[in-house]
């Protein structure tokens, strides 16, 4: 149980700036997710917290104590690896007991703790087996048990579900969340899978190209993305982003004569921020658009994905923009037909094409 603070932490590999100076505070008992595409710096950041990687600059504090230059073993942190890293020549029980033996604890204490942890993770039946013989999910449970048994101040997890089958991932995800809640531990979790991040995180740190793009709750990053990257990255598929030209309360979009009237509550903000004929990006999520006979916007059906509960239409609005819209699963849409749709005014977002930042709405009152 601990608060982790990163102050201006950065990492360079030679000239390559893997993590640009970042500040982050992880609250006590929080489950925070570092999310981003490959190479964004999330794993490097996690490894710096654990001590497996040195920092090029900045400080890391655990409960106010400077741990930046402590050995990894001195930091009271447990690390769960993507490929489990279980000791292949030891049984499961020996694997789990190993960290406590390394600390020189008494036999009784070790047994007690191991039994507790095994109970939590329900792996009693695996105790005598060697890790090599277990399935991926079981191996991951053993890895979690090994981390749990130390009762550390914080858990660091590096894409622990990455190597598992898709169906397993769902159930393991729930297990990890349960564990976190039961143990009330501070957890830092790295993943590139935004579905996982949204499901698990109390807060999500979206990273890209060595920089934090946004820190927020799942709701915040989903409904109020700070910039184009977050809007695009979060959600499957990501937010639709169509660039047009702003002119007197409406956005003219290229192709097919589309003219989008900005909703009332955005009018003032946009009028103040933009001049006529400035570029403006309109963002809306697939579920916030609805097919309608008399819809404002029109496009041409490019593809149809059947998702069971709903259909996902790929709509070609012009030669650059294909937007995704959720549609009723019962209706058949044919490829090539023109489709009219509306965008829910409550859920639309606007972005500045030059800075790529979201335009935040000033509350009128």
């Amino acid at each position: 149980m601990a608060e982790i603070e990163l102050r201006q932490v950065e990492k360079k590999f030679g000239e390559l700036h893997a993590v640009k100076p970042l500040d982050l505070t992880i609250n006590n008992g929080e489950f925070i997710v570092l999310l981003g595409p490959s190479g964004c710096g999330k794993t490097t950041t996690l490894r710096m917290i654990s001590g497996l990687e040195t920092v090029t600059g900045g400080t890391i504090l655990l409960d106010g104590k400077n741990i930046t230059w402590l050995h990894p073993s001195e930091r009271d942190i447990a690390f769960v690896f993507q490929l489990y890293a279980l000791y292949p020549h030891l049984s499961v029980r020996q694997n789990i007991a190993f960290p406590l033996q390394a600390e020189g604890e008494s036999r009784d204490l070790i047994n007690k703790r191991v039994d507790e942890v095994v109970e939590v993770l329900q792996i009693q039946h695996l105790l005598k087996a060697r890790p090599g013989k277990l399935s991926g999910g079981d191996q991951q449970r053993v890895a979690l048990a090994r981390a749990l048994v130390r009762r550390p101040a914080a858990f660091l997890m590096d894409e622990p579900l990455g190597a598992l089958d898709a169906d397993f991932r769902e159930s393991m995800r729930a297990e990890i969340k349960r564990l976190h809640i039961d143990q009330n531990a501070t957890s830092v979790y790295v993943t590139h899978d935004q579905v996982e991040a949204m499901a698990l995180g109390d807060r999500i740190v979206v990273m890209s190209e060595a920089v934090i793009q946004q820190v927020g709750t799942p709701n915040e990053v989903y409904y109020k993305p700070a910039n184009i990257f977050v809007a695009n990255f979060i959600g499957s598929p990501g937010m639709n982003l169509v660039q047009g030209v702003y002119s007197d309360g409406a956005v003219k979009m290229p192709g097919m004569d589309n003219r989008y009237e900005v909703p009332e509550d955005w009018e003032n903000t946009l009028k103040q921020s933009l001049d006529d004929s400035d570029g403006l990006i309109v963002g809306f999520r697939p579920e916030s658009a609805a097919v309608a006979q008399d819809g404002n916007l029109v496009g041409n059906v490019y593809a149809v994905d059947m998702h069971g509960a709903y259909s996902m239409l790929h709509i070609n609005m012009n030669e650059h923009d294909i937007v995704h819209i959720r549609a009723d699963r019962m209706v058949n849409y044919s490829i090539g037909e023109d489709i009219r749709f509306n965008v829910d005014p409550q859920m639309v977002r606007f972005f500045n094409p030059a800075s790529e930042l979201a335009i935040t709405r000033r509350e009128v009152e």
Binding site: G14, E53, T56, L70, P72
Partner: protein, 334 residues
């Protein structure tokens, strides 16, 4: 030192490394380890260095005790190595002395005379080196070439009795060469292969084949089979696949195997000594047998060993990257 825990190493760390590896203690240990390795390496090289010095020493320096480290270099060893000599008769000594003073004698003759001898002709050292080149070189080419095909077959095909065959091939490395020398001698004599280049090449090829097959099989096993499957689907024949896809990827392995085979064949002593006498004799036995000619000519032996060493050093140095891979390739099994 205790400041490290608070302040860190005092410079920005821009390499990928753990925190405990950057602490002052760890860095000192690292430097110490490097120093120890250098010291051990130097100690290992002392015999080579002694040999180098001996090749350039005059006779008196060689046998002096304690051994001299600083000395006047002399070409005596090399001259003795490359020439046949006879002792200058007392009667002719004056003649030679006069010729030496007027500068009529060549360098070689002058050096020989300083030891009281005159040159009668070239020695067979160069011929022996040539034999070594031919026999070792050709046998290496054959063993690696044949081994490559065998290794590919063992790796990719279901050969009948594969495990047994592989073990059998391996077992030929288990016997000391000397054990089979007598039967080989008799066989060679029967086939008139005694003291022939062909005989030695055949022999070395056979003995190197086991090493080549095992090493190359390891390397070929490492090449994912998907490349060949893709090529076969694309329409290449098995042979084309081998030639265009497998071979380029196996080049480092082939280089490593070649180096090992070459070193073995080049240094081979037992068979060369016992199965050759004059025509096909290679360098190793001939250098050793120089021991008995008119007193122990250490400088000549050292010079001969030096000459014998240099070609291999050059080749191994040129291929050192491949050699490193060959030595460590089996170390980490996925």
């Amino acid at each position: 030192m205790s400041n490290f825990r608070e302040d860190g190493p005092g410079y920005p760390v821009t390499e990928a490394t753990r925190v405990d590896k950057v602490s002052p203690e760890s860095r000192i240990f690292g430097k110490l380890r490097a120093l120890i390795v250098v010291v051990i390496a130097v100690i290992m090289l002392i015999p080579v260095f002694v040999m180098l010095m001996t090749a350039f020493k005059a006779r008196s320096d060689i046998v002096s005790s304690p051994p001299t480290v600083v000395f006047e270099p002399s070409l005596e060893g090399f001259v003795f190595l490359f020439t046949e000599r006879a002792v200058v008769a007392k009667a002719r000594q004056e003649e030679f002395k006069a010729a030496a003073e007027t500068g009529e004698l060549s360098l070689v003759d002058r050096v020989a005379f300083e030891a009281g001898q005159q040159v009668t002709g070239p020695s067979d050292y160069v011929d022996r080196l040539k034999n070594s080149f031919i026999i070792a070189g050709l046998s290496t080419i054959f063993s690696v070439g044949l081994g490559l095909f065998a290794a590919y077959a063992f790796s990719r095909f279901d050969v009948l009795g594969k495990d047994d065959l592989l073990f059998f091939i391996l077992s030929t490395r288990m016997l000391p060469a000397v054990v089979v020398t007598i039967p080989l001698f008799l066989m060679f004599r029967q086939l008139s292969l005694n003291d022939t280049h062909l005989g030695m090449i055949l022999l070395y090829t056979v003995f190197n084949l086991s090493l080549a097959v095992w090493l190359l099989k390891g390397f070929i096993d490492e090449i994912p089979i998907e490349y060949e499957e893709a090529a076969l689907v694309d329409g290449y024949s098995r042979w084309q696949t081998f030639y265009k896809i497998v071979l380029p990827q196996a080049i480092t392995g082939i280089a490593a195997t070649t180096v090992f085979s070459l070193i073995f064949a080049w240094n081979e002593y037992a068979f060369a000594l016992m199965l050759t006498s004059d025509n096909a004799r290679t360098a190793p036995p001939s250098i050793a047998t120089m021991l008995g000619r008119g007193g122990i000519e250490w400088s000549a032996i050292a010079a001969g060993s030096l000459g014998f060493l240099i070609p291999v050093v050059i080749i191994v140095f040129a291929l050192r990257n491949y050699l490193l891979r060959g030595v460590t390739f089996g170390a980490v099994r996925k």
